[in-house]
């Protein structure tokens, strides 16, 4: 099992290398992997290669069908997933009794992590999106389409009013602005800073999404009695279990991974005819 996982990681790493080096590098890595004594060392060796980039980019294979499929998958992911998740999550976030609170705390924490992981996975699986949409525009498209999908969900649910519309509009604007900024920063080469901006964008845009809600006033929504009267853990819980927060994390991570995984298709060099060049 571990051996297969390691070989899978190495194969994945090799696919990112230039075609002319791919087979040789894979053979070399497999030879080194073969003599590593412990499982932990083998996993670390393979994982490090799988998560790194080669010294130069491999040739980009232009596959329009793949890019269209990625685009459709991306569209489905940012519209259907929130629309399905929001009502489902309501079932476990609306109950408030002491036993459920403990369970909800763990599920809320798990949902935050799962949303980020899902964003990374989806971003890694649909890298062709940025061949159709410019990387700097991915955040705007992602938040714009998700904004329409979430509003449509609220319309169907019958809860859309002026306040909610205002909040969600502010959310979409702040999300698009901050995630686009993160994309620009990433393009300048500051990866860590770009991720920091994404992390900051989550609470900022979430605050905008709750402008007409007690959460924007840092209210714990009456959860203090479940946390020994302490405000901070109660407020953290009240925020952490918000299904919209998980959707926001998923969308932002997804959009940013797409930006980071973008590989420009090299522009073919056209040589001038000799008579003209002369």
């Amino acid at each position: 099992m571990i051996s297969r996982l390691c070989h899978g990681l190495l194969a994945r790493a090799a696919r990112r290398w230039p075609v002319d080096l791919r087979d040789a590098m894979l053979a070399e890595w497999q030879a080194e992997l073969h003599v590593l004594p412990t499982t932990a060392q083998r996993l670390r060796y393979a994982a490090s290669l799988a998560t790194s980039r080669p010294h130069r980019e491999g040739a980009v294979v232009i596959r329009p069908h793949r890019d269209v499929a990625h685009g459709l998958l991306w569209l489905l992911s940012i519209t259907v997933l929130p629309a399905v998740y929001l009502p489902l999550a309501l079932n476990w976030t609306s109950s408030t009794d002491p036993i459920m609170i403990v369970w909800q705390t763990w599920v809320a924490a798990g949902s935050v992590v799962a949303a980020a992981v899902l964003g990374i996975v989806c971003g890694s699986l649909t890298t062709g999106v940025t061949q159709s949409i410019k990387p700097m525009a991915v955040a705007r498209w992602t938040t714009g389409i998700a904004y329409v999908a979430i509003l449509a969900y609220y319309v169907v649910e019958g809860s859309l009013d002026g306040a909610l519309l205002t909040d969600m509009t502010y959310w979409a604007l702040s999300a698009a602005a901050l995630c686009t900024l993160a994309a620009w920063v990433a393009r300048a080469g500051w990866m860590s800073l770009s991720w920091a901006i994404v992390v900051i964008a989550v609470p900022v845009s979430f605050w905008f999404a709750n402008l007409h809600n007690g959460l924007s006033d840092f209210s714990a929504l009456g959860m203090e009695p479940f946390f020994g009267g302490e405000h901070l853990p109660a407020f953290t819980f009240a925020v952490g279990k918000q299904e919209l927060l998980h959707v926001i994390i998923f969308l932002f991570v997804y959009a940013h991974v797409l930006v980071l995984r973008h590989r420009a298709v090299p522009v073919p060099v056209v040589e001038a005819p000799k008579e003209v060049a002369a």
Binding site: A13, A24, E28, E32, S48, L49, T51, S52, P54, H55
Partner: protein, 109 residues
């Protein structure tokens, strides 16, 4: 050989490990241990150095079925790269030496 290679700290670590035994055959795992770099950092550096003409890469001459393992790839600094690598490492060492070391040296002189 392209002598205008950008000497980052990880590249310097790899070069230092190679310069320490310039005639020896070095393989990936050994270089990971001597440079302290993870595989994901080391191999792109080795590939860059090889393409720039600093390293010779050759495959171990063994019969995998007899040896019970696949053949390894070995790296060695090219004769042209060795003096350049030594010089660049010495320059880097000089640049990164703490200021008080200069003062002590001058005072001793």
């Amino acid at each position: 050989m392209n002598a205008e290679l950008r000497l980052t700290v990880p590249v310097a670590r790899v070069l230092a490990a190679l310069v320490a035994d310039p005639t020896g055959d070095h393989y990936g795992m050994e270089l990971m241990q001597s440079s302290g770099l993870p595989s994901g950092t080391l191999y792109p550096i080795l590939a860059r150095l090889t393409e720039a003409g600093w390293l010779d890469k050759r495959w171990e001459d063994i019969d995998p079925s007899e040896a019970g393992r696949p053949a390894r790839a070995y790296y060695r600094l090219t004769p042209a790269a060795l003096p350049v690598a030594r010089q660049r490492l010495a320059e880097l060492h000089e640049q990164t030496r703490p200021a008080h070391a200069h003062v002590t040296k001058e005072a001793t002189a």
